[in-house]
Amino acid sequence: MTTEKHKSVMVVEDDLDLLDLIAVILTEEGYRVVPATDGRDALAKVAKEMPALILLDVWMPVMDGPEFLARFRRMYDHATPIVLLTAAEEGRIADAEIQAEGHLSKPFDLDELLRCVAVYVSENPGSGGGMRPSAEALESQNDEMV
């Protein structure tokens, strides 16, 4: 397990208190946390560094979870697992969840959160560094920057 620690976990959550909480507990457990407050922020950050796992909120301003998920999957390979932080808004996440590896219902136990993160991070041992985006991805990334 120790090797899995220090791996980066991106947390995309607009509620800063919750973001802080997840960051604190994951940092305590030895993960490196990359925080993002919305989908656009997250997209910008994954471009620089691809995390081992993304914890993704659904409802967010600027760019919400499902939209981020769609863009992310279009731009990168399926390698990085994504876990949705939901409030069981099933109608909303129905489409998005197909592309996500799992979901965690709010509110969650901290133990539950840690178990979940540990499972997905260990299942994705190859990542941790950045991944080469596809040409198409670069193009749309350029669009984003314009």
């Binding site: 509620d15 208190d17 919750l18 909480l21 997840i22 604190v24 507990i25 659904v58 409802w59 932080l85 939901t86 409030a87 069981a88 808004e89 099933e90 109608g91 909303r92 129905a94 709010k106 509110p107 969650f108 136990d109 901290l110 133990d111």
Partner: protein, 713 residues
């Protein structure tokens, strides 16, 4: 039956038909009468035959009497020609009715004759004649059969009498030969009916005489070939209703035998003659019948004309009305029922005119209503042709009434299909509709062109007085309705999210504090943190329930079914909950697997709900057993607790929403009272059933069953 003939022909035919029985009666009458005439004629013929028979007997008797007289003369016994010839010749003028009188000796030789005879000429013998032998043998007089005279070579009949000696023994014969036309002469005075024929034959059926055939060859005289003659000879009188005579006409007649000598007498008459009277009568009657028929037909024609001419007028009028000339009226002034019919017809036409005006008005009104309505309406007849479509139909689907009216509905359907998201599916359902005239269809049609819209289509058969007229299709625009629904969904999702996120923070931070200082700085702190944790869970559940109930009420609980192992799922849920309680023992029991098709999250929710209840209402702790069982084609899950149970009077209502069985009791643990309501909805949406057994103070067992997956594992 409908006869393709005019009224006139039918009337004439019926008159003729009525006259037919009269014709039948005439014919029957004729038959009866002719029968009577024939019987009368036969009686008459029989009478004639019998009379002639009697005459015949008398004639023969006279001849025999003359013979007897001769035989008794002494000169007869001399057999001396020189004495007998003059004697007989002297007597001849006294008996002009006899051709001759001869005397024969016992050997048959002529011993004397009444005919002039040249002396010395050889005498003939009659020894071979049967009658001669008969007379000698019987010693009694006899009448001969019809002979051919050996002297005259003409037919002749002889009456022979024996000449007896002193001892009475026959020694010779006196023969009296009858003149052949003796009978003709005797009958000369009798007036014969036209065609009347009288004939006689001897006892050997040899014709002696026939009024119609005076000259017959010898061989023609043999009548023995006729069965009726044979019958008469046997002594029975014969009546012949109809026979073909040897000379070729159809006759009737009677045959009788003369009582004494057994000769046959026949009297015949042409049938035509016998029926002459009846035929004349029939002709007269037929003539009057024909007159009657002609009269009747004339009357029928007249009647037909009276009937037909007003009818023709009515027909012309009806045709005119059919063409829309409603103001036309008939004028029939026959003063009878026809005139009444005309009047009624005129009244009907007038009323029709008014009714049609009204109908036109209400039709226009209906069309105006249908046009003004904010729905698209189209009506198809039984052949699937468009009979009506309103303004909205044209607007919404870009149709022109004149393009589709009277056309098959495929024309319209193809145009609408081109605008939909899934044209093939739309057309497929149309095909179903056209194959099932009485089908009722309710569905959503999503248009992508010209602007995205959603319509609700309702198609149903239209009946009038129980008779199928066609189909109405009715589109209502539910785009806005759908948009509002989506907004509401989104709002609910967002509300849940916005409510749960702070709860998640509260719960998370509480747990963080617990992690950092498990015992707390103060013993009371640990307890407080637990309370905060528990209450945030409760708050979260309330939010979740609120969301669920809202969704259920909107009818928008979506199931994402997949193949899952119920045993595995239940076990996981039990294992997940077990650590949350210290007081209870959560036990699990089940088979290796039970594969069902279900929404994993929903079922999890049901299990959690049942287990939560079990824990909550077993405040004293104890075993909580979860069992999965398989029964035929379903899987059954039972969750049993040893808790407080549900009071009997509250059991009925526990699946109702917002019903809280323990409200106001020491076991009121809060909640919205929707857990079991949601569980039941979820189970039923999976085609399953949920029930429970409970006894107050002893605990409850909840069961739910779900159909097993039919797919082979």
């Amino acid at each position: 039956m409908r006869l393709p003939f005019s009224l006139r022909v039918k009337l004439l035919a019926s008159f003729l038909f009525v006259l037919l029985p009269i014709f039948g009666i005439l014919i029957a009458d004729f038959r009866v009468e002719s029968e009577r005439d024939i019987e009368g004629a036969l009686d008459e013929q029989m009478r004639i035959a019998q009379t002639v028979g009697a005459v015949l007997d008398t004639t023969f008797d006279e001849a025999i009497a003359v013979g007897t007289f001769m035989a008794s003369q002494p000169v007869a016994q001399t057999f001396d020609t020189s004495q007998l010839d003059p004697y007989l010749q002297s007597l001849a003028p006294l008996y002009p009715q006899y051709e001759r009188i001869n005397v024969y000796d016992i050997r048959g030789w002529n011993a004397g004759t009444s005919l002039p005879y040249s002396p010395g000429a050889s005498r003939a013998s009659v020894a071979d004649r049967p009658y001669f032998q008969e007379v000698l043998a019987t010693n009694t007089p006899a009448v001969s059969e019809v002979l051919i005279s050996r002297r005259t070579f003409r037919p002749a009949i002889a009456a022979a009498v024996p000449i007896r000696d002193d001892k009475g023994q026959p020694v010779g014969v006196v023969s009296v030969t009858l003149v052949p036309d003796l009978l003709a002469r005797k009958l000369a005075g009798v007036p014969l009916a036209p065609g009347q024929d009288i004939f006689t034959t001897d006892h050997k059926a040899r014709a002696a005489f026939d009024t119609r055939r005076q000259q017959m060859a010898f061989w023609e005289r043999d009548y023995s070939r006729f069965p009726s003659i044979q019958q008469a000879l046997s002594g029975k009188p014969v009546r012949l209703r109809s026979f073909l005579s040897p000379i070729g006409d159809v006759r009737l007649g009677a045959l009788a035998t003369s009582p004494k000598y057994g000769w046959v007498v026949g009297a015949t008459l042409p049938v035509e003659e016998a029926l002459a009277h009846a035929t004349v009568a029939l002709r007269l009657r037929l003539l009057s019948y024909s007159g009657l028929a002609v009269l009747a037909l004339g009357l029928a024609s007249l009647l037909a004309w009276f009937l037909v001419s007003p009818l023709k007028q009515l027909t012309a009028q009806a045709i005119a009305i059919g063409k829309g000339e409603l103001s036309r009226r008939v004028t029939i002034a026959t003063g009878d029922e026809m005139e009444r019919l005309g009047t009624v017809f005129n009244e009907m036409a007038a009323r029709l005119e008014i009714t049609l005006d009204d109908l036109g008005e209400s039709n226009a009104q209906l069309k105006a209503i249908l046009t003004a309505t904010d729905h698209a309406v189209v009506m198809e007849d039984l052949d699937g042709r468009i009979g009506f479509l309103n303004k909205r139909m044209e607007e919404w689907f870009g149709l022109q009434a004149e393009d589709v009216l009277g056309q098959k509905d495929e024309v319209m359907a193809t145009r609408i299909a081109a605008l939909t998201r899934d044209p093939e599916a739309f057309l497929q359902r149309r095909r179903y509709l056209s194959e099932h005239a009485t089908a009722v269809l309710e569905e959503e049609v999503e248009l992508v062109r010209p602007t995205p819209r959603i319509f609700r289509l309702y198609a149903a058969p239209v009946y009038s007085d129980g008779q199928l007229l066609g189909r109405i299709e009715h589109y209502s625009d539910i785009t806005e309705h759908r948009r509002l629904e989506r907004l509401r969904d989104e709002f609910l999702s967002m509300a849940a999210h916005e409510l749960k996120t702070p709860v998640a923070s509260i719960k998370g931070y509480t747990q963080l504090l617990q992690r950092w200082a498990p015992e707390g700085h103060d013993p009371r702190e640990g307890k407080i943190l637990k309370i905060i944790d528990r209450q945030s869970d409760r708050l979260s559940r309330l939010v979740q329930e609120l969301l669920e109930v809202s969704r259920l009420q909107l009818g928008r609980m979506e199931l994402r079914k997949e193949r899952i192992d119920l045993v595995k799922l239940a076990k996981e849920v039990v294992e997940g909950i077990a650590p949350t309680t210290d007081k209870h023992h959560l036990l699990f029991q089940g088979p290796a697997s039970a594969i069902i098709e279900a929404d994993r999250n929903r079922l999890e929710q049901v299990l959690i709900n049942l287990l939560d209840n079990a824990i909550r209402y077993s405040p004293e702790g104890g075993d909580i057993e979860t069992r999965v069982m398989i029964s035929e084609d379903e899987a059954i899950v039972a969750v049993r607790d040893r808790g407080v149970g549900i009071p009997k009077e509250r059991q009925e209502r526990i699946f109702e929403q917002f019903y809280r069985a323990h409200a106001g009791t020491p076991y009121d643990f809060g909640g919205m009272g929707v857990g079991l309501y949601i569980s039941r909805q979820v189970v039923e949406r999976h085609n399953g059933r949920i029930r429970f057994e409970s006894e107050e103070g002893k605990g409850s067992t909840f069961y739910f069953s779900l159909p097993l997956s039919r797919k082979e594992n």
